[in-house]
């Protein structure tokens, strides 16, 4: 390649036109002749024994095709990601575990008829006492949600390094704190939706908004005993995922509906149903202790995490693993003893959400570091710099440790972005606060040996007219993977972006690719694609060499042509070459198969800095974010417009987590059922000055040096804002969200006689 024309450019997304014209079809926009509509009957009680389900009135309503209960289901009635213990429908005689458990389903001629019929299903319950906190669920005598999980322990992780007891003994300063993080809802704008039908050969097709077509197919097979080779799952363009659509959501229910009703069925969850049904961010209680020398050197870290797993497993082990490594962050701490537990409760379900446990840990870690800085009367930035991880260090056993350490570069950039600390306006109730935090975000580069899944594929095909198709198994959630793959293919063949077509997320026609999560697609699919394009390029160059009577090594791809190096006049148009190859029977469709360096659960890592200036009004409690800066080492910025979009979006989602979002249940019942109660940031909530920058220290094994960045964007902003507010008010923050009322409570506590 003589020049890189598309990589690094903010080219237009390949899916943008469809999205701005309303032409793009999402799962709920599909239509099919004979299409019926489904509706799920959810349990109103977090824990209750289902005594009797009476469907007669519902079944008799006009337009109702069928009403389904557990006894109608084929198969095991069980599915689930790491433990297959999730029922499709709770049968009579069994207990519900949360208000998102389903007891019946209706298929009817319209969505409205299905809703009315669902409301007419009469269910008798014996309401039982629910476990509504991890501590309650861990206590002796608590009932067990799952026979296999004694003490309601979903999973446990421990990490020990060195000798913490000795290290704390020698430490000159010790700080400790307990932090509480709430349940955060993904709040994607498109709720769970899908269409399912059986074709004339009886093959099941499920077309749905999802993040893992392969996992969905596995779950349908597991629950309904349909042979795997007769299940086809296609992911649509997704209206937001963030992990909330990573586990199977409605697809098993939908498959059952179509198989039993014998008609195509569309199922779309209402916002209220969506808020209840899919797993959210694990609420946590994190107790953390740091021991340091008076000069700020960190000696020891000790801590305990208790996470609310909700009723089912589904990602808790992975989340805990990431929480554990994020407790360390980008710092060198030679003695560590940490432990994390996820506990089953009858609250809403917990699972995957961008960051996967790292955001919770980042809050505890960075807030405790500022507490330590105050105890040492040391500048918080200096404290962190003193303990930055060294180049070449391998942070934990699951990290490859092959990323150059760019923390000093990030420090330089963030300090420049922030400039001098602003001063408070005179005679004002406003106090200014500033904070700088660092993070070491991770992205998946490896296999998932726990499930025996390894490797990522991508296929590229050059058509007879020189157009190119890419087939890849990831899902377009809005993160832009489709465009990234198009850019790479365009780059490899030196073609304009418009000549590339990308088709994604089909469990049959896309090569196996695994899940869309863990910020893994650019790395995995990108590398697989480059292997595929490499093969096709070789074929094209061989044929071109023959036609131009030169060695393949003397040729290059440039400006939609294949040219002889140094003799640009002697060239073949790419389209013409493609036609010749096509006619001569050359193979122009190749699959690349990428396996990671070590065939086990591995992460690459990168570095991030965030800083914020806030003005907190002690009279009104209002929090103004004067400036927020995020600098992320992206390895290589493949598309700056999209990359900055990730930084802005992740920061705002992180802002919401810290300052306003809390999905509240009381006694396992939903208290924040809509966007009116569950506030997410609006256009009014963005910082006054909002700076984002991607720096580039190329990742040795990344495609074009790129790293995964989707989750990184979310980890750092919450603790930065909290520390800035703490700095402004001179208080310790224990719990998020920290909003207006908490500012006022803190001020009142400081000055009991005023306010």
């Amino acid at each position: 390649m003589t020049h890189e024309s598309i990589i690094g450019k903010g080219v237009q997304r390949v899916d943008a036109r469809g999205k701005v014209t309303g032409q793009t079809k999402y799962a709920g926009d599909m239509q099919m002749p004979g299409m019926h509509h489904g509706k799920i009957v959810f349990s109103p009680h977090p824990r209750a024994r289902v005594l009797e389900i009476d469907c007669r009135a519902a079944q008799a309503m006009p337009g109702v095709k069928t009403v389904i209960t557990a006894r109608d289901l084929p198969g095991t009635n069980r599915y689930g990601y790491d433990v297959a213990h999730r029922p499709v429908l709770i049968p009579e005689g069994e207990e519900t575990r949360y208000i998102g458990d389903a007891v019946a389903m209706v298929v009817a001629a319209s969505a409205e008829l299905a809703s009315r019929a669902a409301a007419a299903v009469v269910v008798r319950y014996e309401v039982l006492p629910a476990l509504t906190s991890p501590r309650q669920a861990m206590a002796a005598g608590a009932y067990q949600l799952h026979a296999e999980a004694a003490g309601n322990r979903c999973c446990t992780r421990e990490f020990v390094l060195g000798d913490v007891a000795a290290a704390f003994g020698k430490a000159e300063v010790v700080v400790e704190h307990t932090y509480f993080t709430p349940r955060q809802e993904q709040a994607f704008l498109e709720t769970e939706a899908g269409l399912a039908y059986q074709d004339d050969a009886g093959v099941l097709h499920v077309i749905s908004s999802l993040q893992d077509p392969y996992g969905v197919a596995d779950d349908i097979h597991l629950a309904l005993a349909i042979p795997k080779s007769r299940i086809h799952v296609k992911g649509t363009i997704v209206g937001g995922g963030f992990g909330g659509k990573l586990n199977t959501t409605i697809q098993v229910h939908l498959a059952a509906m179509t198989c039993l009703a014998k008609v195509p069925v569309m199922l779309v969850l209402s916002r209220e149903e969506s808020f209840v049904f899919h797993p959210k961010r694990h609420p946590t209680e994190i107790r953390l202790k740091l021991g340091a020398g008076r000069d700020g050197t960190l000696h020891a870290l000790e801590g305990e995490v208790i996470a609310d797993a909700g009723p089912y497993s589904g990602r808790s082990p992975e989340v805990l693993g990431l929480t554990m490594s994020a407790l360390l962050g980008p710092y060198l701490i030679p003695n560590v003893a940490t432990r994390a537990e996820a506990i089953y409760t009858n609250n809403l379900d917990s699972g995957a959400f961008r960051g996967f446990g790292a955001p919770q840990a980042a809050i505890a870690r960075e807030c405790l570091l500022d507490k330590l800085a105050r105890a040492l009367a040391m500048d918080p930035l200096s404290l962190r710099r003193k303990n930055f991880i060294a180049p070449g260090a391998r942070p934990t056993s699951t990290m490859l440790g092959d990323s150059p350490v760019s923390l000093e570069l990030l420090t330089e950039r963030i300090v420049e972005h922030m400039g001098p600390r602003p001063s408070a306006p005179a005679n004002s109730s406003k106090r200014i606060g500033r904070a700088i935090c660092f993070d070491m975000p991770v992205f998946d580069v490896g296999a998932i040996p726990v499930l025996g899944k390894s490797g990522v594929g991508a296929t590229v095909e050059v058509h007879s007219d020189g157009g190119v198709s890419v087939y890849a198994g990831g899902t377009e959630l809005g993160q832009g993977i489709t465009t990234i793959l198009a850019q790479m293919a365009a780059e490899q063949f030196a073609l304009p972006l418009e000549r590339i077509r990308v088709e994604m997320s089909d469990s049959w026609t896309s090569p196996r690719a695994g899940r869309t999560s863990a910020s893994r697609l650019t790395y995995g699919l990108g590398n697989a694609l480059l292997l595929a394009t490499g093969r096709v390029r070789k074929t094209l160059l061989a044929r071109a060499g023959q036609m131009l009577e030169v060695a393949a090594d003397d040729l290059l791809f440039e400006d939609a042509e294949i040219r002889i190096k140094g003799v640009p006049a002697k060239a073949l148009a790419f389209a013409d070459l493609a036609q010749v190859c096509w006619d001569r029977g050359d193979q122009l469709r190749e699959e690349g198969w990428f396996r990671s360096a070590e065939d086990r659960y591995m992460y690459g890592h990168t570095f991030m800095a965030a800083a914020a200036d806030v003005a907190v009004d002690t009279a009104t409690g209002e929090i103004e974010i004067l400036k927020l800066a995020n600098v992320l080492d992206m390895g290589r910025v493949l598309n700056p417009v999209m990359a900055y979009g990730q930084l802005y979006g992740g920061a705002i989602q992180s802002l919401g987590y810290g300052l306003m979002e809390n999905m509240v249940t009381v006694d396992g019942l939903q208290k924040t059922p809509s966007f009116a109660e569950y506030a997410i940031p609006t256009a009014l909530d963005i910082p006054q000055q909002f700076l984002a920058e991607g720096v580039e220290t190329p990742y040795p094994t990344g495609p074009y040096g790129a790293k995964g960045i989707g989750e990184a964007a979310l980890n750092c902003t919450t603790p930065t804002l909290l520390n800035a507010i703490a700095d402004a008010l001179g208080v310790e923050i224990n719990a998020i969200p920290f909003a207006q009322e908490h500012v006022l409570a803190a001020v009142r506590e400081q000055n009991p006689t005023s306010v």
Partner: protein
């Protein structure tokens, strides 16, 4: 339930329909007219994904009964581009990366069109206030605001 006859004029085209009085404009647009560009995000007026223009004014279509729109002009995202020519706001959204998952995009575009008609050169704060009823979870709003500012600046 008795159906009411009404005429919905959508993007300049008239449709004679028979709908039950409780049906929302959103559901009738999507289900009776097949205009699925307008999205249902919450069906409760909280998210703005269903924003359409009713006689030029932005409304949440989930909160308007179809019968209320009888004889009035409804503008949806499908009517924004003319003969394949994109509206300057649509071009700007593409240029600035203002659409990621795209689900909030039609609602935000309709609202922005109404904003710029009403206030051709809005301040950043005015843009933020106008958009405050349109939730976006992906973009963090920055590139959306920049896209609108770029068109407003050009005096379109």
């Amino acid at each position: 339930m008795t159906r009411h006859s009404l005429v919905l004029k959508v993007n300049g085209e008239s449709h004679a329909l028979q709908v039950e009085p409780h049906r929302s404009l959103l559901d009738v647009l999507r289900e009776e007219l097949g205009l699925t560009g307008t999205k249902k995000g919450c069906d409760a007026g909280d998210c703005g994904a269903c924003t359409v223009l009713l006689d030029g004014a932005p409304v949440n279509a989930c909160l308007v009964l179809a019968v209320q729109a009888d004889g009035r002009e409804v503008s949806t995202i499908e009517g924004v581009a003319r003969d394949g020519q994109l509206h300057p706001l649509q071009e700007a959204f593409i240029e600035h990366g203002a659409a990621q998952c795209g689900f909030c995009t039609p609602g935000i575009l309709m609202n922005s069109i109404a904003l710029l008609r009403e206030t051709p050169s809005p301040t950043r704060t005015e843009i933020q206030e106008a958009l405050s009823g349109n939730l976006c979870r992906c973009t963090g709003y920055v590139q959306i605001i920049e896209a609108i500012e770029s068109v407003a600046g050009a005096g379109k």
